[in-house]
Symmetry: C2
Subunit: 219 residues, 2 copies
Amino acid sequence: MSETKKIEVMENILSENDTIAAEVNRAMTEKGIFVVNVMGAPGAGKTSTLKQVIRRLHGLKPYVIEGDIESDLDTVTLRALGVETVQINTGGACHLDSPLIRKATEDLKLPSKGVLFIENIGNLVCPAEFVIGEHVKLLIVTATDGSDKPYKYPLAFEKADAILLNKVDLLPYVEFEELFFMNGVRALNKHAPVFKVSGKTGDGYDEVVRWIEQKAAEQ
Amino acid sequence: MSETKKIEVMENILSENDTIAAEVNRAMTEKGIFVVNVMGAPGAGKTSTLKQVIRRLHGLKPYVIEGDIESDLDTVTLRALGVETVQINTGGACHLDSPLIRKATEDLKLPSKGVLFIENIGNLVCPAEFVIGEHVKLLIVTATDGSDKPYKYPLAFEKADAILLNKVDLLPYVEFEELFFMNGVRALNKHAPVFKVSGKTGDGYDEVVRWIEQKAAEQ
């Protein structure tokens, strides 16, 4: 197959995705649902972040769409906390797309205003390329994964509306050059706030929740 | 575009990839070059593993193809150690493929028998779908990323010929359920050895190198 043909196919897929994402975004906005696309590599702490954020939300009902290639481990965890959660298993696909989200929002009961967190597939590459109807993108990276991530995986950092540097409780035990990291972030993204958090201890999440609540109020 | 059309395009891409991968594998085998496809999520410790392995290799010359979306940080590190390294920047693509590797092996001087390490893009999903001419796949995961990874990202574990559990120096500070992890691994992969290593301290790499040298000798 020619390169031109492959590129044409990819452009077609991306354009279909954008159209449906815009529909999802409009429908959610009309219902008073603020949509947060939660992105990060495997093990970055997406689910532990959701647990820390959801317990701190004031007056906004949380909903979750949980994206995984396989398994429903995180959905079981979140439902045990009383959070209405819908599981998407992509069965191999490396990111969520807007047709999957449109279907999942139909499965969710969304009776009152709130925040819909969509936990994307653990992958620092592909999810950044696909809008899925979100109002904001939250990127989670970790102190244990090293300070060079913005240089190696620029798109996710460029597109993020807020960045969480997770696992800061392990900073004493790892080499992490914060200045090098922040220089990399700021070369790609001038404005996204960077929150230092620990999914284990809960440190830093009050500020994250304040930011989400403020963004939701502005919607 | 129809689903059938999308699937047809994907199958076409995969089939082209397999054909070229077989060519690369044949060419490398004839030259006495043993090819190791090094896979792992961002920050799993692929480059620190290469550094630990290469310094322990006896009588086999190391070569490296370094795959990154952007940046040449790791190539600079490896060249500083005197290792002949070729950089591939995919400029967005989430995995290496065999046409990229065929081109890179043409750029490498491969005068003597040895081991060619191909550091794949940091991604626990897409690289597992594409053979790139390797003799073995080395999967690196970390104690800090949690024990649920085999359940969530099964394909990489299923396809691995050896699995490195890295960052074991941080085990005292994180929750990692080794039995749960190993049960997940063995449900997918009965035979791959699992090595506990630390890229930071070097612990465990003597066994990894012994395994690589033995596999290379059997080729």
